[in-house]
């Protein structure tokens, strides 16, 4: 049976690492809920996967314990329990800095190009609570100044942040120069997807599992909302782009809670600690809520 290559894409702090930590922990434990199982540990370096999955199992923040260079590209060899399909999950960059670098430097390494060329399916992660998902528009700036006389918007750095005028002080010397940090996440994500269609040779549509992380928070704050609706309202440019290009991108939206609980919530953590690890996870595909963390990967492999 031909092997499939699935690659994970996501900007920094978009939820990739927590998801992978949980996935690896559940693969190693051969979770009954999972539609996938570990195929082989024979090749590759699992050091970082082991580290982050231990953190996840111990309710510790899955932090940056290793340099990106030391982690390198990580690969998981998985097997679909039902179909027997063998698939490779590629994680070219845990920290997401690679994708930021692509946006800024406008180049891929040859190795990355080959990886993308061999991947037809992608998991794209996004954090619905990231401050920079949408850039502030001129309307925000004007409205803000009308509402809060004597304050002005921060023009540099985090685009959503506001400071009192006296806190702003004099602007840095280079504050009037455009930098890539000024670009919103949704514009960057559109660009990352455009790289695929303009750089790769592919005769069929790319299959994209778009994963909205921190779904437990979303479900509490926006009862009844579906992952697709959330992307539509929170990252409208990305949603329009994907919807306009349905013949290029076959997209399915997922909401995933991989961490399960806020680690600062002691009561919640002790409640979750009494559960099996696989019961911490929730995956919502817009219709079905399940405990199968591999749902997006399984859909991609169909």
């Amino acid at each position: 049976m031909p092997e499939q290559n699935i690659s994970i894409i996501g900007l920094p702090a978009s939820g990739k690492t927590t998801y992978i930590a949980a996935l690896w922990a559940l693969m190693i434990n051969n979770s009954a809920h999972c539609s996938l199982q570990l195929h082989s540990l024979k090749e590759g370096n699992q050091e970082y996967l082991n580290k982050i999955s231990e953190d996840w199992l111990s309710f510790l923040e899955v932090g940056r314990t290793m340099l990106a260079k030391e982690v390198g590209e990580v690969v998981m060899n998985l097997k679909n329990k039902a179909s027997g399909t063998i698939l490779t999950l590629n994680i070219p960059d845990f920290y997401g800095e690679l994708f930021d670098a692509h946006f800024q430097d406008r180049e891929w390494s040859e190795e990355y190009f080959m990886l993308m060329q061999n991947s037809k399916e992608f998991i794209v992660f996004l954090d619905p609570y990231a401050e920079n998902n949408i850039a502030p528009t001129i309307m925000d700036e004007r409205q803000f100044m009308e509402d809060f006389e004597g304050m002005e918007p921060v023009l540099v750095g985090k685009s959503v942040g506001r400071k009192k005028k006296e806190e702003v002080g004099s602007a840095p010397a280079n504050s009037n120069l455009y930098k890539h940090i000024n670009t919103s996440n949704q514009v960057k994500l559109v660009e990352i997807l455009q790289y695929l269609i303009y750089t790769l040779t592919n005769e069929t549509a790319f299959k994209i599992a778009l994963v909205v992380s921190k779904w437990d928070k979303v479900a509490v704050n926006h009862k009844g909302i579906k992952p697709e609706q959330l992307v539509k309202s929170n990252l409208p440019l990305l949603y329009q782009f994907l919807s306009c290009n349905q013949h290029v991108f076959n997209v399915k939206y997922f909401g995933i809670s991989a961490q399960g609980v806020d680690y600062g919530d002691k009561k919640g953590v002790s409640e979750f600690a009494n559960k099996l690890p696989e019961d911490r996870v929730e995956v919502f595909d817009g219709t079905i809520l399940s405990k199968d963390i591999a749902t997006p990967i399984t859909w991609l492999s169909e």
Binding site: I138, R142, E146, N176
Partner: protein, 334 residues
């Protein structure tokens, strides 16, 4: 275009040997990325003979730049898609950049009425304009990054009127420094430099609304516009095939100004003087970024402008086969 300046024997790229010649062939066939060798490292090595093991040069695949396109670069879009070329002309500080920046900002917030964002090969170009426009707005003293280029620069914007629409419409939106427009109305050489606008789908000529407020500057602003159009017609830069709109920008400042009669000052004289010599002449009032949002919304008038840009007079032909690449994008609907 591919440059394969391999200094190593065999095909070693990125520290990895390619599996077979077929892979090399595939790379060579890809039409619009480059295999760049990082020569800086190689130079360092050649300067230091003590290094015994030479580093393998890192090869990279260049992605599209995302910046605004020069005239010679627009084939990056035109060989892929049929396009409408839209030229936005106007004197210094008339609001050309603001129109482009506001359009992109609107799409970042939501679809614009029935127009939906389908992509752009020049998102960085849009982002730069948005950034500098926001800076200018937040700081009265900031001299906005106005259109400085004396050659046309193009931004690409793909839109669909419905998600179900079969193909997107691709616009190449161009602006040029107001100084060039100012000179062109009195100088044939400068006007001839603008001759590429003769292939326009639409020309949007912007009159700075702020200059229409004061009686002292009003007639001069209107006369400048008339002079440019008259000169462009007489020099055969525009003519009976041209679709032109006279657009008053910053309309929120103009509306309600005592003694300002829009029809008498604009519609009647411009129609009388130019309508018969053009294919189409329209008039629009725009307040892309009104000073407040109590009366006018963000992007006031831009929907009407988009409708003019989207007015189809004939079916757009696909790029000719020789212009098309073999890339998947050309076989799919974008």
């Amino acid at each position: 275009m591919v440059s394969t300046n391999d200094t190593n024997e065999g095909n070693v790229v990125g520290g990895k040997e390619l599996q077979n010649s077929k892979e090399v062939e595939k790379l060579d066939q890809a039409p619009d990325f480059y295999l760049d060798e990082d020569d800086s490292e190689a130079d360092e090595e050649s300067q230091n003979e003590n290094i015994e093991v030479a580093k393998i040069p890192v090869k990279t695949v260049s992605l599209f730049k995302g910046e605004e396109l020069k005239v010679a670069e627009i084939t990056e879009v035109t060989y892929r898609f049929p396009v409408f070329k839209i030229y936005i002309l106007g004197e210094h500080d008339s609001g050309k950049t603001t129109i482009l920046a506001t359009l992109f900002e609107i799409f970042q917030a939501a679809p614009f009425y029935d127009y939906h964002y389908a992509g752009s090969l020049t998102q960085i170009g849009f982002e730069r304009r948005c950034f500098y426009s926001r800076l200018a707005s937040g700081n009265d003293d900031f001299d906005t990054e106005r259109t400085k280029a004396e050659e046309f620069r193009f931004l690409h914007l793909a839109l669909k009127k419905s998600y179900l629409e079969k193909k997107a419409t691709h616009l190449l939106l161009s602006d040029i420094a107001g100084e060039k427009i100012r000179r062109a109305k009195g100088n044939s050489e400068d006007m001839k430099d603008l001759s590429i606008i003769s292939d326009s789908h639409h020309i949007s000529f912007i009159i700075d609304g702020e200059k229409l407020i004061e009686i002292k500057t009003r007639q001069a602003a209107l006369t400048q516009a008339k002079t440019f159009i008259r000169k462009a017609i007489d020099e055969k830069i525009i003519g009976e095939k041209t679709r032109l709109a006279i657009i008053v920008s910053k309309w929120d400042l103009v509306e309600g100004v005592e003694g300002f009669d829009y029809n008498q000052l604009l519609v009647t004289p411009f129609t009388r003087d130019f309508a018969a010599r053009l294919n189409e002449l329209d008039f629009l009032k725009i307040a892309a970024r009104p000073e407040n949002f109590k009366v006018f919304k963000l992007g006031h008038g831009l929907f009407d402008l988009l409708n003019l840009w989207f007015k189809f007079e004939k079916k757009m032909d696909d790029p000719s086969p020789e212009e098309m690449s073999s890339r998947m994008i050309n076989n799919l609907i974008f």
